[in-house]
Subunit: 327 residues, 2 copies
């Protein structure tokens, strides 16, 4: 089969082809125009680099496009964005990249935008020796301001789902030998790959949060767990200046998730799960949990130096693990 490389297509033709993925009224100028009447915007930027965040052996370009969009919308959502306006895409590609790779990437991008809302507003494409996808996403701030610094002592810490699956999916896709002593259930393997390659987010979260609100508060402490569950709780504790007490027993895992320290490490430090981690007053937390059965209570914030402790002292050795680092 003839492989059509970017160096054969040339820059002008490449840009023309990419424009076909954009809405017609956005496709002619350098800048995109956004009409906003009396609305406050949220802006987020996230960057995926080949061999740092992904490789052609662990994720296909279509899934990568999907994931790049989802990771940005997850950040918007964790600030209380009620609607995604759109994204700009900055692509860096080696000239030996096949066109079909780019096409598949954009199909995945548009699939995620179709599912979660938003359009491609514009972008830039240039040559480089390492594939890179940098996305800037714009959303409209909803009524509830979700912020890292809005947690309060006395509040319940909650999360939208179970963790660790994406990390397991990553290890399976990379054929990393994660544990010789366990044989994983087929269902868990399938789910984990799905979580790593095609993560989901929860646009209904904000609606449920508003529905279950029992007071007039407009600020809620929240972030997402893209860098791991412990990192998310740590970020909330530091920004809100309070201490997190996690209840190991209450933190729900996949029903087939293996036991042991190693598997706890994958669970708490894995990252890329894109679940929301947040805190609410007791009554609000109770109302929300009734409305959304996937919500899990994992602990509470108390007064104290920004830090994390497990209620069960024996579990604190878990915190000695170090989170994922890029540098």
């Amino acid at each position: 089969m003839h492989k059509e490389l970017l160096e054969d297509i040339g820059e002008k033709e490449l840009i023309n082809r990419l424009r076909k993925f954009m809405p017609k009224n956005q496709a002619s100028d350098d800048c995109a125009l956004i009409t906003t009447k009396n609305k406050n915007l949220l802006v987020n930027n996230d960057c995926l680099v080949e061999n740092v965040h992904f490789s052609d052996t662990n994720i296909c370009p279509k899934d990568l496009g999907w994931k790049a969009v989802v990771s940005n919308i997850s950040d918007l959502l964790s600030s209380g964005s009620k609607k995604t306006i759109g994204i700009t895409i900055s692509l860096i590609l080696p000239s030996k990249t096949e066109w079909v790779w780019v096409e598949e990437l954009y199909k995945g991008i548009n699939k995620a935008l179709k599912k979660y809302g938003g359009i491609i507003l514009g972008g830039d494409c240039t040559a480089g020796n390492q594939k890179t996808i940098s996305i800037t996403a714009l959303g409209i701030q909803g009524e509830l301001m979700l912020r890292r610094n809005a947690c309060k002592p006395g509040e319940i810490i909650l999360t939208t789902g179970i963790h660790g699956l994406s990390k397991l999916g990553f290890m399976i896709q990379n054929q990393i030998n994660f544990d010789n002593d366990v044989s994983l259930k087929k269902r868990l393997i399938k789910n984990s790959i799905e979580h790593f390659c095609r993560p989901k987010i929860y646009p209904n979260f904000l609606t449920n949060l508003l529905k279950s609100r029992s007071n007039k508060r407009t600020k809620v402490g929240c972030t997402d767990s893209s860098d791991g569950l412990i990192q998310a709780v740590q970020d909330l504790a530091v920004a809100s200046n309070c201490k997190a007490i996690l209840n190991y027993e209450k933190i729900k895992k996949d029903k087939d998730w293996p036991k042991g320290d190693k598997w706890d490490e994958y669970y708490f430090f894995g990252g890329e799960d894109y679940e929301l981690v947040f805190s609410l007053p007791k009554k609000w937390a109770k109302n929300l949990s009734k409305l959304d059965k996937n919500i899990i209570e994992i602990g509470c914030f108390i007064k104290g130096e920004p830090s994390i402790e497990f209620k069960d002292n024996k579990k604190n050795k878990l915190l000695n693990n170090t989170p994922f680092k890029h540098f």
Copy 2:
């Protein structure tokens, strides 16, 4: 001297240091909040890659930061942005990068923002094997919508300044042997390096355009010459579906610019000059030229297939040169 590398600093500390360059209220969350009351926004994205757009031998990090901001604001300006709100910065850096390089880059970024307006809204920083700076800039749409597709037959083509200097500066900085037969004036060498390393833009352009307007038009054909003068005119001709006639004699060059085909090529195809290229009805063009003595009339648009011709037939061979390509 001890060289402080990013791999010594670590990711958390790096992000903390970068946050110190941001306004305090923007520094805690993943997303930036933009307050816009009844305003339309322009969004632009531009990406600079090491060894494609720059190298440590031809530009210092402080100038690079300045230039990265300017190239984005130039795009906003060429769409009619009356005010830059801010930028998000997506940085990719090898772990062996020295901290002082990053610090200087941000100093240059903030110097340009201080000069032309706007703040750092947020960003992302990750490891990679090739330095990359991807900036997304947000501006407020002014009264005049400058668009590539708004040129009309009968209009005068104008530009805000002379071209080619940035290309010459690039060649000098890279010690490329551009011409054995000429010795350049010191003044021209200094100017060219200045144009390449610290390009300027014209925020007064919009004010003058409005002041000199003799009718009620709100749309003007315009782009910038970041990819070269000929490319800019070509983009206008294609988007507006008309033919450009350029008047070689009228196209002003630096007073010490050497003569010859090679120097014409540098002039017309050089790129990175960040001058605005636009078209206006005769009367408006005349009024504007009176108001701003730097404005140069370079030709006109007529009915016809999207294309470019020189009035002086002998100059048309110039158009056989190919513009700069990334792939």
